[in-house]
Amino acid sequence: MVVAELIQYVATGLLVGGVYALMSIGLALIFGVMRVVNFAQGDFMMLGMYLTFFYAMAGVDPLLGALLTIPPFFALGWVVHRGLLARVTGGGDPQRQMDAQLILTLGLSLVITNAATMILTPTPRGIRTAYATQAFALGPILLNQARSYAFAMALVLAAGVYVFLTRTDVGRALRASADDPEAASYQGIDVRAMHGLAFGVGIALVAAAGGLLATYYPIEPSVAGNFIVLMFVAVVLGGLGSIPGAFVGGLVIGLVQSLTLLVLPFQLQNTGVFIVFLLVLYLRPQGLFGRRARTV
């Protein structure tokens, strides 16, 4: 019985972790290419949840709705990059440019959260689906259907991103810009366009993850705060900027959250996550998959 309970917790953790993994990939992609920690990532996720909610009001199944958030949010991300982030130059000093971009995303996050509170009201909303309350039974193990579908779709989308990055010319150009922007630009790659592409894809992924999350999680303007830190943890865990790392990091966060419940009360669920976060930072700041640059 104890084993079954343990497996149940692991399964629940992994299902939740799959969606964390998808949202973290977006953050990792943006950091990997632009070296900017996007503080507004959680807010775009929240907007993705709302868009899926509105789709659902119009009769679109939220699993499809989550997919349909991708095109508009890709465009939104691209516009935000072109209109805001790309305009911060830092006076030609890359480090100062990245610092300024980071603070800019923090400002953006404040604006989006609070504007959403004003416009959409703080009232939590939810999407009712038949599968949200159903479960697949694998012997004694119960898998919530909404979470299972969300997990499967997150996996498919993440695989799609991986194929895009490794098997297409554009994906290779993107990785080249991440590794060495200067050398990439000498090869005729438009690095600024690549940054826009990365930001667009990163935002689209987190919006889709938000759509999947909306099938079983309440939707409210302040929801970003609960998830942005989890995304940071997943990305740091995997190694800042590593896409497979962020994916594994997301799964680990889900697991840690779930297993923390075995030993700590529900309110302290996230302390387990933060302890893992700090431990990884102290013991292996380059993360599980990260490379460490030599500084001397």
């Binding site: 911060v88 609070n114 740091v236 800042l240 302390t271 700041p285 001397v296």
Partner: protein
Amino acid sequence: MASRARGWLAIAAIVAAGLVLALLLQERYHHRVLTLVFLWAAMGLAWNIISGYAGQISFGHQVFFGIGAYVTVLLVVKTGLTPWLGMLVAIAVAVLAAILIGVPTFRLAGIYFGLATLAYPLIFRIVMDWLGYQEVAIPMIRDRPGWFMQFSEPRAFDLLALGVLAATLVLSRAIETSRLGYRLRAVKENEQAAEAMGVDAFRAKMAAYVLSAAPAAVVGAVYIHAILFIVTPDAVFGLLVISQTLVVSLVGGIGTLWGPLIGAAVMVPVSEVLDSTLGDRLPGIQGVVYGAALMLIMLYAPEGLYWRVHEVLRARGARGAGATEPIVAPATAPAVVSTPSGTVLLEVRDVWKAFIGLQALSEVSFDVREHEILGVIGPNGAGKTTLFNILNGFLIPDRGSVRFRGAEVTGLRPSALCRRGVGRTFQVVRTFPRLSVLENVMVGAFVGERTVSRARTVALGALAQVGLTQRADALPGGLTTLELRLMELARCLATAPQLALLDEPLAGLSTDGVDVMIGMIRRVRDGGVTVVIIEHTMQALLRLADRLVVLDQGRRLAEGAPGDVTRNPAVIEAYLGKRWLARMAAPTC
């Protein structure tokens, strides 16, 4: 000296202006805004100490604000202790927390440090919820309101907040004008160069962190009593606290005490007015304004208002300055000319160092004798800079030992080695770009001097020694390569080294520049400093060095007088290849 007095006067003027405002204002609401301006300015100043001066951006500084709030309120509730004394306890707890957080977290650099600091207030938030302190109200005490910081007169809170602000301003000013302030700016600009100039970066950061935690705790304590009256985890550990801190600091400009002051004076009234007029209909308006302000400032004046104005004024002032005279080595000779003695100053024994897949140094041994100029030569990739990085403590050898003046120094931090008398310069000059030439050199001078005025005297002496006195007030960005190399040499000399490690000081110099530099290095030696110099061009070193050590592929190939070394076939082969060796052997026509 005049500018120092002006700084203190300006603080006095600001406090006086605050007093006048506090006395003039009539409406209760205006007093509230004034109190908020003072408190957020003080909070911004506290954050500025660690993130502005020391450059360690903290996204979790509200942890100390929250500690200040919770400690004072819980002490009143549980023990009836007055918040006036409670604040002292809060400071002690905040300082302890800063040490406990700082010791592990300062192992991380840059964005990693910032991300780690995010976690601490979140942990406190969760734990406070779990402990059942979701809402702790200050109990009303009617008989002795003043003793419990429960004034009915709003001016009292103005004055209290102004007092906190004044104390934080004085603390900031004291840091800015102290040895610690110079060291923090050096660490911020270039941590490696600062370490090499005797600055223990970890200790400097810890000092800044502790000094910035204490005022943040006081602000938190006062904020609860003046504004909130009820402490909740979200209100004191939440993101809005750090957002407001960042906004006032960044809008005003970081790295100066005027920045947060300006930022608070602009941003707090704007957001309060908007909140009071539109807050009922649009509950998130304050957040939108703060967010929009952050975005606008990053887009149009990323350095903040203070620095933008400063830059404009500076540009106007600089227009009058004319061209400077070319540098020539001063003709005066030092009184005592030192010559190489037999005493061994530095002993390198069997040093090995490998990087992943590359054996950079293998069984390297040699001695440096007092008052000599020892040249270390070798082709690119021979391991010369790796050797220097071991000699000044940037790297720890895998095997072997380095002894300086008879004492084992292997594994000491660069700053510790510098304080013992090992100075160095870098192959690619490492400046503190936003410090003037004089201030760059002063960072080195602080190794031996505690006060700013003494350090300035020493630094001016070092600048005179290399002939850079005229450029003392310039920024490194405007210097020529020769001037930069001379500045770095002066910075190294200001540490009063016994041994100076010069990493390719001739690289990138014109023929004239090389002559100036060679003359300068000779004078340094004649002044009593032992010099080890890396070069890959043999010619220059033949004119300069008393002895040569030749490295090739991480091994010591030869050692001895320049004439002997250059005739050594192994050396010729390493430098010019086998074919050249064959041609040398053949009779010339």
